[in-house]
Structure formats: structure tokens, C-alpha cells
């Protein structure tokens, strides 16, 4: 709880400071509305990150270090967490060929493309499939995106890519009544 409060205060201070005193553009990532549909036992959730990789990420991908993006899913029924999952999308660039290789959790197919635009488009999308029980009733779904520290082997140092998101962790929330969903 304190960690969450601290993160929010820090994000607020950073946002206000930058608004007042900085010309740093960076990115202002947002998670779009969560789309959902359900079968008799599985809940499918999908959506995408918006305005997250437009600035500076081309040069970050070009560093050829594997760049991961996390999508964290948390489903609560009342106060009880019933599902906690994480998807990791990984972008790897080969400077010799100029090809971006994108691996997405839960998808067996690997995307190879020379287009940074397509890479950004694909890395921004996520899909969760969650087995559920109708007894959960009204559930609260929270999805949050973030990036971990990235190690640059050539430089022997770690980069905090959240700088490029101005330390904001975009998130989206939705509530679904599973009894009605059936």
C-alpha cells in the first residue's frame, strides 16, 4: 500500500515538475479500454498501449538488447485476488540484418519485421485468456503495463526504460459480473 502511495506521489511530483520546468517530450503511455468476451469457462481480455513507444524507442530497440514490456493482470473478487498473471513481450533487434524479432507470451508465432512502426504496433497489443469460475460473481480487472531495467551488455550497465514513460505505469480497470457474462 505504501509502495503504491509512494509511486503515485512520485509520479505526481514528476508530472508537475516536468509540466513546469522541463521540455522533455518522452512518452505519455495510456492503456486503452479493456475489451472482453467470455466462453463458458474462459474469459478473454484484450487491449493495447497507446502513445507508449512513439519517441526515443527506435534508438532503444536499435541497441540490440532484448527489450521486454510487461502486462500485469490482476483480477479481484471482492477483496480476494483470484487471478494474477503477467505477459511479457520481447523485442530483439539485429543490427546486421535490420530485422526486429518480436516474441509475445501466449503466442507461439514469432514476428519478424524490418518496420519499427509494425514492431511498436504489435508490442503494444496484449491478449489474456483466463479460466474462471462463475462463483467469483462481480470481478474487478486491473491491467498495468511496465518495463523492467534493461541490461546493455556492450556498456555493462542497466537502463531504466521507465524514464521514457516519465515513471508512469499506465493501467486500465474494468468490472465484469460473471453471472451476467454467462
Amino acid at each position: 500500500m505504501f509502495e503504491l502511495l509512494g509511486t503515485r506521489i512520485m509520479a505526481g511530483v514528476v508530472a508537475l515538475s516536468m509540466l513546469l520546468f522541463s521540455s522533455f517530450q518522452g512518452n505519455d503511455p495510456q492503456l486503452g479500454a479493456i475489451k472482453h468476451y467470455s466462453s463458458s469457462s474462459t474469459l478473454y481480455l484484450s487491449g493495447e498501449l497507446l502513445s507508449a513507444f512513439n519517441n526515443d524507442f527506435a534508438s532503444i530497440f536499435a541497441s540490440s538488447a532484448p527489450i521486454p514490456v510487461y502486462f500485469k493482470l490482476n483480477i479481484k473478487s471482492g477483496n480476494r485476488t483470484v487471478v494474477s498473471q503477467q505477459l511479457t513481450h520481447l523485442v530483439n533487434f539485429n543490427p546486421a540484418t535490420g530485422i526486429y524479432v518480436l516474441r509475445k507470451d501466449g503466442e507461439s508465432e514469432v514476428l519478424r519485421t524490418s518496420s519499427v512502426t509494425q514492431t511498436i504496433k504489435e508490442i503494444s497489443k496484449y491478449k489474456f485468456s483466463v479460466p474462471y469460475q462463475s462463483s467469483w460473481g462481480l470481478i474487478s480487472i486491473n491491467i498495468q503495463a511496465e518495463m523492467p531495467l534493461v541490461r546493455l551488455e556492450e556498456k555493462g550497465k542497466e537502463l531504466d526504460l521507465m524514464v521514457l514513460w516519465k515513471y508512469k505505469k499506465p493501467s486500465a480497470k474494468i468490472q465484469i459480473d460473471l453471472r451476467k457474462a454467462q
Binding site: V13, S22, E154
Partner: protein
């Protein structure tokens, strides 16, 4: 907006200059960072190197390593630039917040004892000299508070001394007046008694002839003494007024009834007015002023009493054409024991003023020597 002191101005100036300087420095940093960022964005190595035909695998590996190193450096510089720009703005923001907080704290600490001093000065102005300030704070402030405390103690002592002196003076005045007023009737009584004693020794038979006159004198002087006692008593106990609505014209006519046979009194009274006044007090006020007017006038000179409405007030004027009051005495005529008459305690007009104040009325006087005096009573007309 409160006026700022010199110290506050200096602190404000310092804060604004330092914060202004930091904001300016930050702007320079931001511009330079932008330039570096833009230049970095234009640096491209990978695509150019890929265009070069490399003949050996060793060359390809070298080129790939070169590209990776270049791109890693570019990414690291990009992130570091972003990080430093965010850090600069956050640090600047925190400096402003912290320095403003410290500034407000310092100002409050500085202004608190000054406010205490202002409040204490206000108390002194209202006559409360018992106020003492705790001698705390910075040395200059302690010194100032100490001086203030010394001053208030001295004022308190002086006030006590003045009160004692004033009381003493009042008692002396009162004793002098009382002695004088009591002595006046006692002298004729003593003379009458002496004359009776002399006749008793020399011509006992004639005593009977002298007795009626002597008794009359003694009786008159005793009556004077009683009146004197009554005057003092009346002045000492001005009761809480028992106000009632009364028609001033009717009351004045009743009061004047006993005077009109001996004196020329002209009445011009509006009957439409109603005032709130204690009836006994009203009687005392009118008779006192009227008696003064009679005492000041020649028997053949008229006295004019007018009652009229002016805006929402009932105005009563009692004017005589007597000897008037000297301009230097005019401000003192309502003071207790001030009198220019040969007879009287000097309490009459003082009592009039006290009664008027008790009943919410205002009394004014205009007078010119040898032309006469005019006393004006202004009372609220309740019959609006």
C-alpha cells in the same frame, strides 16, 4: 495587503533571485539537452554500415559489434538525457517547495513576536498597562521585549501614581466646596445666635421681638443645608433610568406651570412628539436648565422654550437673554463642582449631563456673554 518590513523584503528578494536563477539555469540545461537529443537522433550508423559490402565473416562480425556498441551508447545516452532532464526539473521543483516552506516558516517565526508586540501595544493603548511579554526569541527581539516590559511597568507605576493624585485632588476639591457650602449657611446662624446671646444679657425683654426673624433665618439656612445635601445625594445616585414613552410638550407645560406666575416664559411646543425618557429624570433636567436660565436673566427678560422635530429627533431648546457664559468657561460647565454662581454646588449641570447620557439624549450649549445662553436637548423621536 500588510506592509512588508525590510527583513522580509530582503528574504523575499533573496528567494526570488535564487529561484529565478535556478529556473534560468534549468532553461539553459533544457535547451542544451534538447540540442544534444536532436543531434543524437540524426546520428545513424547501422543502415550506412549495412550498405557497405563486407567480404569476410570477420569483417561482418566487426561491423556488427561496432553497430551494437554504437546503438547501445546511443540508447544509453538517450535514456541518460531523459533521466537528467526529469531529475533537473524534479530537483528544481523540490528546491522551490522546500525553500518556500522554509521561507514561510521563517517569516512566521519573525512576525509572531512582532504580532505579540502589536497586540500588547494595543492593550497599552486601551489603558491596560499590566501586559508583559515573555522575553523569548532572537537576541534583538528579547531586547525589544525587555524594553517594552520596562516601559509598561513604568507606565503602570505612573498610572497608579496619577490615580492616587487625582483621587487626592478630587477629595481636596470636594472638601473645599463642602466646607464652603456648609460654612455659608452656618455663618448667619452663628450671627443670629450671637445676637440672641447679646440681647439675653443686655435687654432680655426685647428677645421676643427678635425671635421670629431669628427663627426664620435659622430655618432658611437649615433648608439651604438640606438642599445642599440633596444635591450631592442626587448626583451620587443617578439611577438606572426607568424609561417610558412620554409626551415632552405635556411634561414641559406641567413643569413650567409653577414658574409662569413669576417669570416670563414663552412656549412654542410641538405636541406631536414622543420620547423615551425617565419621567423623574426629565423633570430634573428641565427644572435644572430652567432654574439656571432664570438665575442668569433679569426678571423682565423672557425665557424661550421651543420643542420641534428635526429629522427623526425631538429637539428641545431653552434659551435665555441673560448674562451668558464666558467662552473660556463654556467647556467646563458640565464638570462637577464647577460654578460661577454665588450660590450653588456646581453639580446642577453635571447632573443634567449624566441624566441625559443615561437616557440616550445629547445636550449642547451655545452662549455669548451679555447675549444669553441656549441649551439644546436632542432626543430620539419614537413617534416616527
Amino acid at each position: 495587503m500588510p506592509k512588508l518590513g525590510m527583513r522580509t523584503r530582503i528574504i523575499l528578494l533573496f528567494i526570488f533571485v535564487s529561484i529565478g536563477g535556478l529556473v534560468l539555469l534549468n532553461n539553459v540545461f533544457q535547451v542544451k539537452h534538447n540540442d544534444i537529443h536532436n543531434s543524437l537522433g540524426k546520428m545513424e550508423l547501422s543502415s550506412r554500415l549495412r550498405e557497405i559490402r563486407l567480404f569476410s565473416q570477420e569483417d561482418s562480425l566487426k561491423a556488427e559489434t561496432l553497430m551494437k556498441e554504437f546503438n547501445s551508447t546511443k540508447a544509453a545516452v538517450n535514456v541518460a538525457l531523459g533521466d537528467s532532464r526529469i531529475a533537473t526539473s524534479v530537483v528544481l521543483f523540490l528546491i522551490i517547495v522546500v525553500s518556500s516552506t522554509i521561507f514561510i516558516f521563517v517569516i512566521c517565526r519573525l512576525s509572531k513576536p512582532l504580532k505579540e508586540l502589536k497586540r500588547a501595544t494595543e492593550q497599552i493603548r486601551q489603558g491596560d498597562f499590566s501586559v508583559h511579554l515573555p522575553e523569548t526569541g532572537i537576541p534583538e527581539m528579547r531586547e525589544l521585549k525587555n524594553s517594552f516590559n520596562v516601559m509598561s511597568r513604568e507606565l503602570e507605576t505612573t498610572q497608579t501614581r496619577l490615580l492616587v493624585a487625582e483621587k487626592e485632588m478630587i477629595w481636596k476639591d470636594l472638601s473645599r466646596i463642602l466646607a464652603h457650602e456648609i460654612k455659608n449657611p452656618l455663618t448667619p446662624i452663628q450671627l443670629v445666635i450671637q445676637r440672641l446671646e447679646e440681647r439675653l444679657e443686655s435687654d432680655c425683654d426685647q428677645i421676643r421681638e427678635l425671635l421670629p426673624e431669628s427663627i426664620s433665618i435659622i430655618s432658611q439656612e437649615v433648608e439651604n443645608l438640606q438642599l445642599l445635601a440633596q444635591d450631592f445625594s442626587n448626583y451620587a445616585k443617578v439611577n438606572q433610568p426607568n424609561t417610558e414613552e412620554l409626551n415632552p410638550a405635556l411634561s414641559i407645560r406641567e413643569i413650567v406651570k409653577s414658574y409662569v406666575q413669576n417669570y416670563q416664559i414663552n412656549l412654542e411646543l410641538s405636541d406631536q412628539l414622543t420620547i423615551k425618557f425617565d419621567k423623574t429624570h426629565f423633570y430634573q433636567v428641565i427644572t435644572n436648565i430652567l432654574q439656571n436660565a432664570i438665575d442668569a436673566s433679569e426678571p423682565d427678560k423672557a425665557i424661550y422654550i421651543r420643542l420641534y422635530k428635526e429629522r427623526s429627533y425631538a429637539v428641545l431648546s431653552i434659551k435665555d437673554l441673560g448674562k451668558g457664559i464666558d467662552s473660556k468657561d463654556l467647556p467646563r460647565i458640565f464638570e462637577p463642582y464647577f460654578s460661577k454662581k454665588s450660590k450653588g454646588t456646581g453639580l446642577g449641570l453635571a447632573l443634567v449631563k449624566r441624566l441625559c447620557e443615561a437616557n440616550g439624549a445629547i445636550i449642547r450649549v451655545k452662549s455669548k456673554p451679555d447675549e444669553g445662553s441656549e441649551f439644546t436637548l436632542i432626543m430620539e423621536d419614537t413617534d416616527k
